[in-house]
Amino acid sequence: METRHPSFWHYGIVYVALMGLAVLSFGLSFLPIGGWQDAIAILIGALKALLVAAYFMHLVEQRFANRLVPSVAVALAVILVVITTLDPITRKTFPRAPMPLEASAPVGP
């Protein structure tokens, strides 16, 4: 199977896009938009990672099996992050975080 490889300019365009996204992410981090700032930073990060994986790592020209392996790994990592974070977020107890050691120590004999 003949695969058409990217030219020097393809790599150059992806590099310029990556630098542009990094500058955009840096600039947006100064906007007073609260929690949205975090979501935007992660989204731009995901887009940059996708560009690196697809073009610099040549995932776009790989066979299905080679694409499947990193896709499954990323999916597992995302599930791990989401489920681990859901625990403290949905906790009904107060406070969410463990009590400091001195406050939670048993009292009296």
């Binding site: 490889h5 990217p6 030219s7 020097f8 790599y11 150059g12 992806v14 590099y15 990556l18 630098m19 990094a22 992410s25 840096f26 981090s29 938009i33 609260g34 929690g35 949205w36 700032q37 975090d38 930073a41 992660i42 731009i44 990060g45 940059k48 990672a49 690196v52 994986a53 073009y55 610099f56 790592m57 040549h58 790989q62 066979r63 099996a65 080679n66 392996v69 990193p70 499954v72 790994a73 990323v74 597992l76 990592a77 995302v78 791990l80 992050v81 489920i83 681990t84 974070t85 625990d87 403290p88 977020i89 969410r96 975080a97 463990p98 400091p100």
Partner: protein
């Protein structure tokens, strides 16, 4: 003889190269889950100690973190060009491009060392050794412990990447890579790109997310 040998279990070089790529992607997948676990810890603790984490992110050196991001993105570009050079039969370019990538990796480590040294002088150390007086909250200690573990593990990967690329730069000096046979070089560049991708997420987590 150009040093490329077809192992007896493969009928063609194409199948051998495919097996090599599949194995490398499997390894990179295990790295993704390793760092994924650490990012899960970060996210869960951030949910518990949101205010302390935001204050601690604001305390980190944004300039160094951002310059390091641009450095690693550039190094990803230069290392990707080595594969382009091999495919385009411009093997003379491979060693200089690998050398440039290694240099960028060393500058990254130097800046990271400067930042860590700034933290140490401020009493910001991992775990029980933390003695900073400005940020005394438990969440700040957790943040900086995760910061040292995650950026430290990443720095170890950068060091390994530099060593691997150094070895390949020596090999490239002997013109071992051709448009048909360069899969080992490609595997080495994949590792370096993974190092870049991990940093792409470390940067917002430890420098940008001040919201």
């Amino acid at each position: 003889m150009n040093g490329h040998r077809l192992a007896e279990q493969f009928s063609t070089f194409a199948k051998q190269d495919h097996a090599a790529r599949l194995g490398m992607w499997g390894f990179l997948g295990s790295e993704v889950t390793l760092f994924g676990g650490l990012f899960a810890l970060y996210a869960a603790y951030r949910a518990m100690y949101g205010h302390e984490f935001v204050a601690a992110v604001g305390h980190n050196n944004l300039a160094i973190g951002t310059i390091n991001t641009l450095i690693l993105l550039t190094s990803s570009f230069t290392v990707a060009l080595t594969v382009w050079a091999a495919r385009a039969a411009r093997s003379k370019l491979i060693a200089p491009l690998l050398g440039l990538t290694i240099l960028l990796g060393c500058v990254f480590l130097l800046l990271k060392g400067i930042e860590w040294s700034q933290h140490f002088h401020q009493g910001i150390l991992p775990g029980l050794h933390y003695r900073n007086r400005e940020m005394q909250e438990f969440g700040a200690k957790v943040f900086f412990t995760l910061y040292f573990i995650m950026t430290g593990l990443h720095a170890i990967h950068v060091v390994i990447g530099i060593a691997v690329l150094g070895w390949f730069a020596v090999q490239a000096g002997r013109r071992l890579y051709t448009p048909e046979h360069h899969v080992t070089l490609e595997m080495a560049t994949l590792y370096w790109h993974l190092v870049d991708i991990v940093w792409i997420f470390l940067w917002p987590a430890f420098y940008l997310m001040r919201g």
